[in-house]
Amino acid sequence: MTEVVTVERERAGAGDPVVDARDVTRRYGAGDTAVDALRGVSLGVDPGQLIAVMGPSGSGKSTLMHIMAGLDKPTSGEVTIAGTSIGTLSDTELTKLRRRHIGFVFQFFNLLPMLTAEENIELPLSLAGRKAEGAFFEDLLERVGLADRRTHRPAELSGGQQQRVAIARALVSRPTVVFADEPTGNLDSRTSGEILELMRDAVETYGQTTVMVTHDARAASIADRILFLADGLIVRDIGRSDASEILAAMNELSDR
């Protein structure tokens, strides 16, 4: 499995960031009511890393993720995904880029209610007109613990199980980077722990580059690198830390 990931990394240029944001600003609205969600953020995501982006509500952390994932366009600045600058891409080119390089995990899972777990997981491949590789697919199902739930529909699964399906769906196309938006925001703490373990496991096993937006210190503690945003700027950038260190850093920021 790791060979494949290596290949992907080489294509992105070994050691170069797989996602690169340069001087990104984002302004919503115009005139007096204009809001600057991002006021000049630069960030490179290195391959194989799990980055957590933290910050209070309105800090711009979600906006940053949306822009890095190509869901939203920056007002100024440049974003490069896997070596491609996305600023000038057409909708179709952007769609192709997402298919190949990006996976998503959402707070509310966003599974399609009429499809089974297995079909939901396969969806990104089906959309791209590809088939799952048998061995990898089985390994993935096993790893997320859904091997015996594959024909269940989302309504028949618990929240934790649904998010496992969502994670498997994000991983199935072996994307260059997975973006996770508050992946534990809608789960109880025990289930959250399992989901975080699973995400860390993906980084360890498949070398899956991941960007996670969260306001949960425990979630951030699985990251290799933790960014703190406030008022549209990166105010701190620390390495791997445990939950109490992260909480301390958060308090420090909010005290400022």
Partner: protein, 852 residues
């Protein structure tokens, strides 16, 4: 992606079903129409083919000219019997017989004419010595000899007649009592679609029909080794110009042509209503898909983040529509079979009895029904599908994401007005531009109306707020808090309410149009008949439109107390290269029918003599004719008449009692064979009285097909005929109204689903289930009323425009009908709300609040 679409449909069974129903009915109408008309066509083809099975060639009279554009067909003319002997001398002829045929009524045991709806009463001669020419088979008794009749089995059974009984037979003269010699069948069937059959020997038939020494037809069998074509060529050598010869199969085709044309018209007429239902259905489909797509915004956004392209989203929606279309069309196709039987029953009920011999299910029926149903569904899905492609991927991560407004949303009201304006322009062009072909007129009017509907439907979103405010006032005033919320809910998503109401609008616009036209015709006609018709009594055939032998009028004129009597005969003539509908009148007519004279005076009709005519002013103007102008006229039997214009009358609005050209009955009777009166008018001493009525009825005893009507009876009978036509149109348009009801049900079901959380909240703060139901019901009624208001307004507009074009109708507002339609719309709204209201009331408060 295919799987997403298909599984999505399977997961939304109820709404898929409701959506499909919108198309099912339209397709059923299309397939039912084809099945019905094909079946009737086949039955008639079989009858005509059977009739000429053993006949190689047929000689018939030739009219001096063929039918004009407006007139369907000219009655056949007879020819001298002596021709038969000459035909028999031809070397190619093996055998030949002469025959006559005419309308012949049989009397029931109660002395009344036997009728079965509008089915014909056929009388004809048979020659049992030549069985190969005879399509009849005896089931009991023997063939008729002089003064005897053979009748069909169905009539005999129904009236309990048997061989040896005496039956009243009525054709050109007074009723004759005849012995029933035998009971017959036509081929293998006992009846031809309710027609009565009366068969006689040739001399009896000739005498009965007033065709002594005449024949209508010679049937010829060829010698062996002679082909029908050779036979025809040979026989033609001895024919005078007043006769023609055709092969047996060609004769069958010619005779079938009249019915084929009628069936073709019926087919187009019914298909038009299927088309309207489908058009309404397309609104329902587009609206339902728009709502479901709005509700699935997050789903589409998620697919987009996972790498789904716009094209894939587009195809998934179109594919859904395709599947709905296929299912609905298949169901509709077979429902059409059942509908064909139902429609037949409707026609029978309204007195149009048609022969029916097993349903015909042609390949064309299947192909057209499926194509149309699937095509309409897919077309209707395109706009919602395009909107779905505009869902941004970022909506997947946003709370409460909504479908973005289209790029052209701002321009929508302008575009809508342009569409409606363009449609109206096309409509006006089709209506008022002279010299357009019929097809172009229909195209401009149909297309124009279509565009107007589209435009108004699109613009209606702007009208929903004020309309719901006004029409919802009773709800908010008397419906309590539920009524107030209902009104606000109807205004909440104007575009949705508008397109739901638009579907109902179309049906109601057409129904109102019919009502406006009906009312206009009724009032104009009543006014003009009251002004025109100054006679005390009118004589018509029992069915109000058939013709009566001249003898009937003569008998009535001799009745005691009759002071003036005049018949109106009608026929065709060739004048200046065109076939015209002409009439002939008795001298007394001016005392009975009072028209305005543009040239000449009321004295003109009595002074026509043997070469005078009077003209309709429209015709006179068109042909630049006035008093003293000469006029050359050719009759169907080839007589050339040199005539002179004696007067010009001003045709009243509401229809003229006379044709373009009117001659004296004396001249007509001398120039036209077997003259018959369309109507006869009478004045009696003392006006309408029971005594006079009784005297007239006694005088007409020998003519059971004649009906004595007082002035008022006559006016009522004409209005009743119009009422029946209106009723048929209403029944057919009801189909599209039903389709639009499914649209309301659909929208409400989806709205309830969408507002689950809100309904839970309302229930949590104390709204009772009853109040929930009432709220939904009021919203439904408000929506229906918006559709009714728009539809009635459009219908009145269309009706006024049409009436402005045709100068013989005056506009009259159908107050009663409009009130009725409004009440019907309210009832429709209540019915449509039943299912959605029940679903809303059933919601569990807790579940509703937790719903995500």
């Amino acid at each position: 992606m295919i799987r997403v679409a298909l599984k999505g449909l399977a997961g939304r069974k109820l709404r898929t079903l409701l959506t499909a129903l919108a198309i099912v009915l339209g397709v059923a109408m299309v397939s039912g129409t084809y099945v019905l008309t094909d079946t009737i066509q086949k039955a008639f083809d079989a009858i005509f083919t059977e009739s000429y099975r053993g006949t190689s060639a047929v000689v018939t009279g030739r009219t001096a000219f063929s039918a004009g554009e407006q007139n369907g067909e000219i009655g056949a003319v007879s020819f001298p019997e002596t021709l038969l002997a000459r035909v028999r001398t031809r070397p190619t002829v093996d055998a030949a017989i002469g025959g006559v045929a005419d309308e012949t009524q049989l009397l029931g045991r109660d002395g009344e004419v036997i009728t079965s709806g509008g089915a014909p009463n056929l009388g004809f001669s048979v020659d049992p010595t030549q069985p190969r020419f005879n399509a009849l088979t005896l089931t009991s008794g023997g063939w008729p000899r002089a003064g005897e009749v053979a009748i069909d089995e169905a009539t005999a059974d129904e009236q309990d007649y048997a061989v040896g009984d005496t039956i009243g037979v009525f054709a050109a003269g007074p009723v004759e009592r005849m012995r029933i010699s035998g009971i017959v069948r036509f081929g293998a069937v006992s009846s031809i679609g309710g027609a009565t059959l009366a068969a006689f020997d040739l001399p009896t038939a000739q005498k009965l029909f007033g065709k002594e020494g005449q024949l209508d037809q010679i049937r010829i069998a060829a010698r062996e080794d002679v082909s029908p074509a050779e036979l025809v060529a040979d026989v033609r050598k001895v024919l005078p110009p007043t006769a023609q010869v055709r092969t047996g199969s060609s004769q069958a085709r010619t005779e079938a042509q009249g019915t084929s044309e009628f069936i073709g018209f019926l087919q187009k007429f019914l298909l038009a209503f299927g088309g309207i239902a489908l058009f309404v259905g397309s609104f329902v489909i587009a609206n339902t898909l728009s709502i479901t797509i709005a509700q699935r915004t997050r789903e589409f956004a998620t697919i987009r983040t996972l790498g789904g392209s716009r094209r894939q989203i587009l195809w998934s929606v179109v594919l859904e529509a395709l599947v709905i279309g296929v299912l609905a069309s298949l169901v509709g196709l077979f429902l059409g079979l059942a509908l064909a039987k139902g429609l037949n029953a409707v026609f029978v009920h309204f007195g149009i009895d048609l022969p029916n011999t097993g349903l015909v299910f042609a390949t064309r029926t299947i192909v057209v029904s499926l194509l149309v149903g699937i095509g309409v569904t897919v077309l209707a899905s395109l706009r919602p599908a395009l909107r779905a492609t505009r869902v941004a991927p970022i909506s997947a991560v946003r709370e409460g994401a909504t479908l973005p407004p289209g790029r052209l949303a701002r321009l929508r009201p302008v575009g809508a007005l342009l569409l409606a304006g363009g449609g109206l322009a096309a409509l006006l062009f089709g209506l008022f531009r002279d010299g357009l072909g019929t097809e172009l007129v229909l195209l401009a009017m149909g297309g124009g109306a279509l565009l107007v509907f589209f435009g108004v439907a699109l613009f209606a979103a702007k009208l929903v707020r004020p309309l719901a405010g006004t029409l919802g006032w009773p709800s908010s005033r008397f419906g309590g808090v539920a009524g107030r919320l209902a009104r606000d809910n109807a205004r909440r998503n104007p575009a949705r309410t508008a397109s739901t109401a638009a579907a109902l609008m179309i049906g109601l616009a057409l129904v109102t149009l019919v009502a406006v036209l009906g009312q206009g015709i009724r009032s104009t006609f009543t006014d003009s008949v009251e002004a025109l018709f100054v006679a005390d009594y009118a004589l018509t055939a029992q069915n109000n439109f058939g013709s009566l032998p001249v003898a009937v009028g003569e008998a009535a004129a001799k009745s005691p107390g009759v002071e003036a009597a005049a018949g109106v005969r009608s026929g065709e003539a060739r004048v200046a290269g065109k076939t015209e509908w002409i009439t002939a009148v008795d001298p007394d007519i001016a005392q009975l029918i009072d028209v305005e004279w543009a040239e000449g005076s009321a004295a003109v009709p009595a002074q026509l003599g043997r070469d005078g005519v009077f003209l309709d002013e429209d015709y006179a103007t068109k042909r630049r004719l006035s008093i003293g102008s000469p006029l050359k006229l050719l009759t169907p039997t080839g007589r050339r008449l040199q005539l002179k214009v004696e007067g010009v009358f001003d045709p009243p609005p509401g229809g003229s009692p006379f044709g373009a050209i009117t001659m004296s009955s004396t001249l007509f009777d001398a120039s036209y064979p077997q003259p018959k009166n369309q109507m006869t008018f009478l004045n009696t001493r003392g006006g309408v009285s029971e005594e006079n009525t009784r005297a007239l009825e006694a005088a007409l005893k020998p003519f059971p097909n004649a009906k004595v009507q007082t002035r008022q009876d006559f006016i009522d009978a004409q209005a009743e005929a119009l009422g029946q036509i209106l009723n048929i149109l209403y029944v057919l348009l009801a189909l599209s109204v039903v389709v639009s009801l499914f649209g309301i049900v659909n929208t409400l079901v989806l709205t309830v689903f969408e507002r689950t959380r809100e309904l839970g909240m309302l229930r949590a703060v104390g709204m009772t289930r009853r109040q929930v139901r009432r709220m939904i019901r009021h919203e439904s009624v408000v929506t229906a009323l918006i559709g009714a208001a728009l539809g009635i307004a459009l219908g009145v507009l269309f009706g006024a425009l049409l009436i402005a074009r045709v100068d013989f109708i005056e506009f009259a507002f159908p107050v009663f009908s409009v009130v009725l339609f409004t009440l019907a719309a309210i009832a429709a709204g209540i019915v449509a709300a039943i299912l959605p209201a029940r679903r809303a009331a059933r919601l569990n408060v807790l579940d509703a609040l937790q719903y995500e």
